[in-house]
Amino acid sequence: MWSILRTLWITFRHSFHARVTVLYPEKKRRLPARWRGRIVLTRDPDGEERCVACHLCSAVCPVSCIALQAAIDEKGRRKPDFFRINMSRCIYCGLCEEACPTFAIQLTPDYEMAEYERKNLVYEKEDLLISGTGKYPGYNFYKVSGMEISGKGKGEAENEAPPVDLRSLLP
């Protein structure tokens, strides 16, 4: 009986503790920057799309929610023709962000995506593309890769030496 009375007293004391509930939507919890929420496609610091339609993200996606098709634009850069993510299938695992070689696809700390109709949860490229650089501000893939596009020839990337003319090496 004593333990029962003690339990009652302890439970009663809990009524003077602060409540742990966060009253959403008036107050929202602070999320870390690496929190895996809504997916976005980012641009590089020059304003061009980062995505090179390499299909690595759709290959690694465990629930196959990413669909895209590659195309080459007039400057010689690969771009996706369409880029579709089915957000109702997405499990927000972040594997696509880890797989992406150009830091194009990123997960942001946003979760307020409720829709009334399921078809509105399939996001196209214009829904995913943002005008900023996301979480990796200084990175431009084409500046460090060896690919030749208009405005940058072979050997003109950062940390890259110009190509050697083999015939000048002959004895």
């Binding site: 029962i4 009652l8 009663f12 009253l23």
Partner: protein
């Protein structure tokens, strides 16, 4: 106003007031449980969530009226009605204030005990008529528990009757003008409180419904309005037991400064809050532990209390 007219006003007032009060207790319990559990209860529907009960009731009234095809239809429908009728009928004898008493019969306490015995019928019939395993197990537990705890519920009150010299609840309240009976009859109060918890099937004696074990026990197969009757009937039972404790042990409507009705309501609310605290705090004992607690500890205690009270009353020569 004629006597008959006044009586009708009092009757309707007590009936409707009780139903509204029990509905309000639903809100009170959810908010108070949340306070004990360091969270908010319902606070979206209406200011402080008071319209949550209205929303719940609307939801339950619009549910499909489904009676299990394998159930015994007539008994199935009657069972929740029995508990509502008998529990509401018990409110007729409770003296809420000197002027608010529906029926001042001179065996008020016996009447209350008789009505609470009917609750066993309701649970037993509900479980049996449902014709399903969980319901049957729930009602078996309920019948055993309620019949066992009823024995000393009556015995624990006999000490109060001995001291007041009457079964009439009004006389018992007025006999407490000098000292509330909780002081001399503390053992009787504790035994009656525990028996009241068991009769209303309230935690820690809620094995019949045992939300985590038996789905919903004897009211598993019930939905819609019939379930609402069981649900609200439970809260009406809590209100009834709280009011009886206040009447029998805590001086009813007596108290300084405030009007008697307010005192009665304040004391009743205090006991309902204590019922809710008990729900928030205590675990559920095993069924055999529950029964042996009743028969081996509570019953001898009630008999001892009765014997000692009888001896002292006889010796003092009231």
């Amino acid at each position: 106003m004629s006597a008959v007219g006044l009586s009708i006003v009092v009757i309707l007032g007590v009936l409707i007031g009780t139903l509204l009060f029990a509905a309000g207790i639903i809100w009170f319990e959810r908010r108070l449980l949340a306070v004990f559990q360091e969270r908010y209860g319902p606070n979206r529907a209406g200011p402080f969530g008071v319209l949550q009960v209205v929303a719940d009731m609307l939801k339950i009234f619009t549910k499909e009226n489904w009676i299990a095809p394998f159930a015994d239809k007539a008994v199935f429908v009657i069972a929740p009605g029995i508990i509502m009728i008998t529990t509401l009928a018990s409110f007729a004898v409770i003296p809420i204030a000197p002027a608010i008493l529906v029926s001042d019969i001179d065996i008020g306490l016996l009447y209350f005990l008789a009505m609470s015995s009917f609750a066993v019928y309701s649970v037993a019939l509900a479980g049996w008529a449902s014709n399903s395993k969980y319901s049957l197990l729930g009602s078996i537990r309920a019948v055993g528990q309620m019949v066992s705890y009823e024995v000393f519920m009556g015995l624990s009150l006999m000490g109060v009757v001995l001291m007041a010299g009457s079964f009439s609840l009004r006389d018992i309240v007025e006999a407490q003008a000098g000292m509330w009976y909780v002081v001399p009859q503390f053992v009787g109060f504790v035994v009656f409180f525990i028996a009241g918890l068991a009769e209303t099937r309230r935690i820690p004696f809620d094995l019949p419904e045992a939300e985590s074990e038996l789905v919903a026990g004897y009211h598993t197969e019930y939905s819609g309005f019939k379930f609402a009757m069981f649900y609200v009937g439970e809260y009406i039972g809590i209100t009834l037991i709280s009011m009886m404790i206040v009447t029998l042990f805590f001086g009813g409507w007596q108290g300084p400064f405030l009007p008697p009705f307010i005192w009665f309501i304040v004391k009743t609310l205090a006991f309902i809050a204590f019922f809710i605290l008990v729900r928030a705090a205590l675990p559920r004992p095993r069924y055999d532990q529950l029964l042996s607690f009743g028969w081996k500890l509570m019953l001898p205690l009630a008999l001892l209390n009765l014997a000692v009270t009888g001896g002292i009353v006889l010796a003092v020569g009231k």
